[in-house]
């Protein structure tokens, strides 16, 4: 096939640059959103994994205890084991920088004499660091080495002091020198401090304890590791350092998958736009195709020409999308790291990690999407009979005849969606649910031609009554141009449906969380260093606080709270020790089955545990099942007394009475307490008293129940900020579609409009007719969007959310989103129709009527 023939396409693309650009922008935006989410997610996780690798260094194995430190004598024992070539003890904690700086910083406590085989920080070379620095590091209890990137960021030099929060205490460290990682890899984007192990133990209140021991074994054969593992005391596990990264990936997998699917929606809507753009091209050039077929163009050549038009859109739009995507990813990365930090673990990723395979994948996806979207209209073009040169309305007639067929296919797709929605494949992500969501959108797209036909015909008499001839003609034109209007109505309906579904889901979820806070979290004041921060498992209430609180006459009851995060199967889970007796007295957890007070007391007396609904859903536990929980005292077989609703986002959790927890963890620390006041109306007074008593010495949060609720809902809203942004892009893409459609529809009808003017119809009336048509098209998009969106919201709430995160979300009707969408789409639709109509009315009548 001669390349020159593609000029037929390029000439059309250049003839209407604005319209071509809209189609191109649609696919560009879709690609950009998809790419930006992928890049941001990969960059955030990569930053976390780099951090893990940087800390792990060359370590092949790691000894650690689930959610607890190790006794430091274990290091001496392990180092002497015959299987071990080298061992290094490590203690680590996330500190918060205090004024004038802020943000998290990782403190690594290391034994410099054991480090050499593991980590190659340049401070180990005396020539680089200097004997004085080396001496200060080993002898000054507050001396730290700061990473070069952090020192540059904070403009700190050796000798400067560094105020930090250590748990709840304010401390001042001294920077004795700087260090550089030989591979340029740092955890937390370089926010790292190194301290001598003994000084770190003292600073963190972990005397005689280490967090883990890195190991190099004499042989890589699995038998050697197994032999070493057999010698370890109960509750000490031999793991590979990389597993931490994998477990983090497991934890954020559902969050990532949902964002990826949402980012795909913009591309899906972009596909409609390409479909519509190529369809409009086929419709408009039908006569031209017929002529080319008469002159000897084969159906295959026609197919290739129209597919090429789609692919050009994909190539150019995809390329533009790549640039736009990288730009958007920089913003998305900030939002995503913030969300991951507040939900899962501190992540600091400022640099975008641009992977060429990801760019290629996004581009190929854009081209593939346009090819798929262009295939149907291109095939339609290839089937154009040569008689189309003489008979223009043939396609419209054929489409009108196929409306019934589309309708039944649509119903079929809807039924298939219903069937898929009820399928669950083990513990895997809810792929059948996502397929069902796609089918719902597809089914409504297939039902659209029938709806448009019915809508236009049914409303025609009403249109006449309300707006006279303009109203009736507008309705009839809408029903009579299915090949063009149905596609754009379906695209807009699809985008609106997703917007409504996501908004209803988020609204329902927010109300459910709000109910949960009121119903399942009792207490007048929440007090401690770690009320919100999920990564602050090693931040404790100072030991003198509890007796003072117990002696306070205004406090009637105190609930103790201790939380650790442990690896469990393929992800991290939380194990929480709490005062079950206090909870039973003041309003307990919110259980799926059974009465709360009774369950809490029974669990306490029998040494049983409660598990959160997400944990039960993800791992398939039921009430009464046995759970084998890894603890520092070895694996424990525990009966599940109850399953409770839990909407914390930092992972599935196991709750046990604080007494049982202390038995397994041998740990008297508390992360926070809930205070129940004798007179709950004096919350403010007690808050002020606590702040006055401890504010100077410690950094402790004192939150009322209302503060806690507001804080939880703020985290919730921040989490979904990106979701709204993604939906917004899908709407913008769909609006491009509706503008393009009306531009083409009115341009095609230029002659009709001129004729109407010529026979005396006023411009106002013609404008009214077009506005009726575009307004009704928008209104129908809204109706279809509202219906599909409502169905999708049920699917998201009851199937996808439940399978992905294990949360039971209660459905709450949110009328606001329906009203807002209706107003938005009607205004957009009218604006989309008004401009082309106005433009058509400015044309020279005689010229248009004379033109063939």
């Amino acid at each position: 096939m001669r390349a020159w023939l593609f000029r037929l396409s390029t000439k059309h693309l250049w003839e209407h640059p604005g319209r071509s650009l809209l189609g191109l922008l649609g696919i560009a935006l879709g690609t950009a959103v998809y790419l930006s989410i992928s890049l941001a997610a990969v960059s955030a996780l990569r930053s976390f994994q780099d951090g893990v690798s940087a800390v792990a260094g060359k370590a092949e194995w790691r000894l650690m205890s689930p959610g607890a430190p190790l006794a430091d004598f274990l290091f001496t024992r392990v180092r002497q084991a015959s299987e071990v070539k080298a061992a290094a003890p490590v203690i680590e904690s996330i500190l918060d920088l205090s004024d004038p700086h802020q943000g998290p910083v990782l403190l690594l406590g290391l034994d410099p004499f054991s480090e050499l085989p593991f980590r190659s920080y340049e401070f180990l070379s005396a020539g680089q660091v200097g004997a004085r620095v080396w001496e200060d590091f080993l002898t000054r209890p507050d001396g730290v080495l700061m990473s070069e990137p952090l020192a540059q960021r904070l403009s700190v030099k050796p000798g400067d002091t560094l105020p930090v929060m250590v748990g709840s205490s304010r401390r001042v460290l001294t920077v004795v020198g700087l260090f550089r990682s030989s591979h340029g890899l740092y955890p937390l984007d370089g926010s790292v401090l190194l301290m001598d192990l003994a000084h770190a133990q003292e600073l963190l209140g972990k005397l005689g304890q280490i967090d883990y021991i890195d190991l190099l074994l004499k042989s890589k054969s699995p038998g050697v590791a197994e032999k070493l593992a057999a010698q370890l005391p109960p509750g000490v596990d031999l793991v590979q350092p990389g597993s931490q990264g994998l477990q983090m990936e497991g934890l954020v997998a559902a969050y990532r998958l949902n964002l990826s699917v949402l980012s795909g929606i913009a591309l899906f809507v972009g596909m409609f736009l390409i479909y519509q753009s190529v369809t409009l091209s086929v419709v408009r050039r039908r006569r031209e195709i017929g002529l080319c077929r008469t002159l000897g163009m084969t159906p295959g050549q026609v197919l290739v020409i129209f597919l090429a038009e789609g692919v050009v859109n994909g190539l150019a739009g995809g390329l533009l999308g790549l640039f736009l995507g990288v730009f958007l990813a920089k913003n998305a990365l900030g939002v995503m790291t913030q969300t991951m930090s507040s939900l899962y673990t501190p992540v600091a990723a400022t640099d975008l990690f641009i992977q060429t395979p990801l760019l290629v994948k996004a581009w190929v996806l854009a081209i593939g999407a346009t090819l798929v979207a262009a295939w149907l209209p291109a095939r339609e073009a290839a089937r154009t009979p040569v008689r189309a040169v003489w008979y223009r309305e043939d396609l419209e007639e054929r489409l009108a005849n196929k409306v019934g067929q589309f309708f039944w296919f649509g119903l079929g797709a809807l039924m298939l969606a219903g069937m898929l929605a009820s399928v669950k494949i083990g513990n895997s992500p809810p792929y059948p649910g996502f397929a069902a969501a796609f089918l719902i959108l597809l089914s409504f797209a297939l039902l659209t031609p029938a709806a448009v036909k019915w809508w236009g015909r049914t409303l025609a008499p009403w249109g006449r009554r309300l707006w006279g001839v303009s109203g009736e003609l507008g309705c009839r034109y809408l029903a009579g141009s299915l090949s063009r209007s149905a596609v754009s109505i379906a695209a807009l309906g699809c985008a609106l449906g997703m917007l409504i579904a996501v908004a209803v889901m988020i609204g329902s979820f927010r109300r459910t969380v709000d109910d949960w806070v009121s119903r399942a979290i009792s207490g007048d004041i929440f007090f401690g260093p770690a009320v919100f921060s999920t990564a602050a498992y090693d931040r404790f209430l100072p030991s003198e606080v509890i007796p003072e609180l117990q002696a306070d006459p205004q406090i009637s009851d105190i609930y103790f709270y201790r939380c650790v995060r442990i690896p469990f199967r393929d992800r991290f889970i939380l194990v929480i020790g709490g005062s079950f007796e206090v909870l039973a007295r003041h309003g307990s957890l919110w259980f799926r089955q059974g009465e709360g007070q009774e369950l809490m007391l029974k669990a306490r007396s029998r040494g049983q545990v409660m598990v959160s609904e997400p944990l039960a859903e993800i791992f398939g536990y039921r009430e009464g099942d046995l759970l084998i929980l890894p603890t520092p005292s070895g694996p424990q077989r525990l009966t599940i007394a109850g399953i409770f609703y839990d909407y914390r986002t930092d992972g599935p959790s196991v709750w046990m009475d604080i007494t049982l927890f202390r038995q397994f963890w041998q740990d008297r620390h508390l992360n926070a307490v809930r205070l129940y006041l004798k007179d709950p109306s004096r919350v403010k007074e007690v808050q002020a008293k606590l702040q006055h008593r401890y504010g100077q010495r410690y950094h402790l949060l004192t939150l009322s129940h209302a503060d806690l609720r507001a804080g939880i809902l703020k985290i919730f809203d921040d989490t979904f900020a990106l979701t709204y942004a993604l939906e917004g892009v899908a709407i913008v893409v769909a609006v491009f579609g509706i503008i393009t459609t009306f531009l083409v529809l009115i341009m095609e009808r230029e002659r009709d409009l001129a004729l109407l003017q010529a026979i005396g119809t006023s411009r106002r009336r013609i404008l009214g007719m077009v506005l009726v048509e575009s307004g009704l098209a928008s209104l129908l998009s809204f109706v279809l969007g509202a219906l599909s969106g409502s169905l999708l919201s049920l699917l998201l709430i009851f199937i996808i959310n439940k399978q992905a995160f294990g949360w039971t979300v209660r459905l709450y009707f949110t009328p606001g989103i329906y009203w807002q969408t209706l107003v938005l789409v009607t205004l957009l639709g009218l604006a989309a129709g008004a401009y082309p109509a106005w433009r058509a009315l400015q044309s020279h009548l005689a010229a248009i009527l004379k033109e063939e």
Binding site: R7, K11, T294, G296, T298, R387, V389
Partner: protein, 221 residues
């Protein structure tokens, strides 16, 4: 040679069957200049479309240059139209975005010629129909008569065996129309194509070697 045996064409419009042609038998010799006349709706254009392989007959057999059209596949029919048939329409049907030169070159490119070769040949044919100075113009920049001349050049560029012209003067004033008919006659004389013109203009018939009258889908004796 073109042979039609018992050719009928019926269009179904909903429940109504419209018989455009009824049992037409016709032989057209190679190099003949035939004019088909008759009232509107008598089946003239349908007859032309059937001969050009633009649509299939409902019944009967059509043989053009030794090819039985009913036995040709869709692709073979396309190649038949491309290589053996040139069509001239009443409404010119030039592609508005292409120049006259590009419009004329198009069938040659479809035939597999390079654009440069096709353009050179298009220039020769445009010169033959008197449009050398208009080759870079787009259709809307020239007159109706010039558009039709370009359409004739396009029909001739692949040197087809048969030229089919459907009311070629229908959209032109009488003076211009006469010029187009003279051009047909001149080209027929020089190149000896078989020319079939559908028309209801009596002056068109004057240029033809034979005139056929159609009435209600049948050839009048």
């Amino acid at each position: 040679m073109i042979v039609l045996r018992e050719v009928s064409k019926t269009y179904q419009r909903g429940a109504v069957a419209i018989h455009a042609l009824r049992g037409v038998n016709l032989v057209i010799e190679s190099g003949e200049f035939l004019a088909i006349t008759g009232k509107s709706g008598c089946g003239k254009s349908t007859l032309l479309h059937l001969i050009g392989g633009l649509e299939p007959p409902s019944a009967g057999q059509i043989v053009v240059a030794g090819r039985d059209l009913s036995r040709l596949s869709e692709v073979e029919l396309t190649l038949f139209r491309r290589d053996l048939v040139g069509v001239v329409f009443q409404t010119f049907n030039l592609l508005p975005l292409l120049t006259l030169e590009e419009n004329v070159a198009l069938p040659r490119v479809l035939q597999g010629a390079s654009f440069h070769q096709a353009r050179d040949e298009a220039r020769q044919w445009l010169a033959e129909v008197g449009l050398s100075d208009r080759r870079q113009h787009k259709p809307h920049q020239v007159s109706g008569g010039e558009m039709q001349r370009a359409a004739i050049a396009r029909a001739l560029i692949n040197r087809p065996a048969v030229i089919l012209a459907d009311e070629p003067t229908g959209n032109l004033d009488s003076g211009t129309g006469a010029g187009i008919l003279e051009l047909f006659a001149h080209l027929h004389q020089h190149h000896r194509h078989t020319v079939i013109i559908v028309t209801h203009a009596p002056e068109a018939a004057a240029h033809a070697g034979r005139v056929l009258r159609l009435h209600d889908g049948q050839i009048q004796p």
